[in-house]
Symmetry: C2
Subunit: 203 residues, 2 copies
C-alpha cells in the first residue's frame, strides 16, 4: 500500500501490531483517528498509556488490579477456602464472566515447560502453597489448558499437596454445550465418556 | 463483561470506539498492550497523536500530506493537465493503490447535499475551478459515489465548465472484475449494458 504521508504510514504500521489487525483495518482505524477530535484521540492514547503505569498486580493472587490487593481478594462475599488455579489473569476475566464461580484465584503466570526453560521455581507455585497453608484452603480447582505443560503443572502441584487434606479438582472437559457429537475430536469425546456424570433432567 | 480493573475497563471502552472493533477485540488489544513493552506502547500512542499534530492538508489539492504541498502535486512524473475529482483523501489512497492513474487529484471534502445543508460553497469547488483555469487543465475525471449527492455534485461542476474546452469524464460503472452476472444488482447491470465498450480480446 502507498500512503500520502509518512505520519499516516507510521500510524498504520503501529496499529497493525495489534493481534488480528491487518493493514486494511489499521488504515480504517487511522482514518478514524484523523477525523476524530484531538481531545478524544488523546483520551484514547491516555487510556492506553495508563495500562503501563496504573495497572498493578495483586500481591496476594497475581490478578490485575488498580490497588495492591485486587477486588476479588478483598471481597467479603467470596469463599476464601476455594482457590482456582489459572495460568494468566485473562483466564480470570473469562471465568468471572460465567458468573458461576465465587471462590478465590491464583495466577501462576505460566506453566511448567522444561523445553522453554520454565521450571516450578519460575512460576508462582511457592506463593500458592503458602496461601493454601496460611488460609486453611479446603479445595483447589485447576483451570489450566489441557496440554502436556498444563497437565505437568497440575501434577506437580498436586504432588506437593499430597500430605495435606486439601481436595483437588479440575474443570470438566467434554463436548461443548450445543456442540454436535460428530464434530467433536476423539480425545475430547473419549474423556467425556470416561468422566460421565449422573443424568439429571433438570439441568 | 466484568473487568478486574477500572484502568483495563477504560482502555477497552476507548479502543472499542474504533469502527468495526467490538468489546471482545478491544479486550484482546488491551491484553496485548498490558504485555507489551512500555516503550513500544508509547511508540504506538505517539504515532496516533502525531496524526493530529503532524498531518497537514495540501494547499493545492486538499490531499493529506507531511508538507504544505503533497507529494503528488510536487511530482514531476505526473500529468498536470488531468485532474481526478474525489470526495475524500482516502479515495486517493484507493486510486493510487491501483497504480493505473498518473494525473493529479482534487479533494472536494464533501458532496453537495441540500438535505444536510451542504451547498456548492461548503465544498472545495471554487478552488477546483481556479486550478482548471490557472493550470490549463485538459480533462476532469469524476470519481464520486454513484449517489444522488455524487451525481448532483458532478452535474454542478460540469455546468460550471460548460463554456470551457475541458473534457469531462467519470470512472466507469459496471460488473466487478470476476463478478457473476446473476449476483449483480439491476442498476449496475443496466448501466454496464448502456456503457458497453468495444470488445478487445487482448484486455
Amino acid at each position: 500500500m502507498n500512503f500520502p504521508s509518512k505520519t499516516i504510514e507510521n500510524a498504520v504500521e503501529q496499529l497493525s501490531r495489534f493481534p488480528g489487525i491487518g493493514k486494511k483495518t489499521a488504515l480504517r482505524m487511522t482514518l478514524f483517528l484523523l477525523k476524530d477530535k484531538p481531545e478524544l484521540v488523546h483520551q484514547m492514547t491516555q487510556a492506553m498509556e495508563d495500562l503501563k503505569t496504573k495497572v498493578k498486580y495483586c500481591s496476594n493472587c497475581g490478578n490485575v488490579s488498580d490497588a495492591d490487593i485486587c477486588s476479588i481478594c478483598t471481597s467479603v462475599n467470596r469463599n476464601k477456602k476455594l482457590i482456582c488455579v489459572v495460568k494468566d489473569f485473562q483466564d480470570i476475566i473469562s471465568i468471572e464472566n460465567t458468573g458461576q464461580y465465587t471462590g478465590m484465584y491464583h495466577v501462576l503466570g505460566g506453566v511448567i515447560s522444561p523445553i522453554d526453560g520454565i521450571g516450578p521455581e519460575e512460576i508462582n507455585i511457592d506463593t500458592l502453597l503458602k496461601r493454601v497453608e496460611a488460609d486453611g484452603v479446603e479445595e483447589l480447582v485447576f483451570a489450566l489448558s489441557a496440554t502436556m505443560e498444563g497437565d505437568t503443572t497440575a501434577f506437580y502441584i498436586s504432588r506437593k499437596l499430597e500430605h495435606t487434606q486439601v481436595k483437588i479438582s479440575a474443570i470438566s472437559r467434554g463436548i461443548a454445550v450445543g456442540g454436535e457429537l460428530e464434530y467433536a475430536d476423539e480425545i475430547t469425546l473419549g474423556r467425556s465418556i470416561l468422566n460421565r456424570v449422573p443424568y439429571s433432567s433438570g439441568r
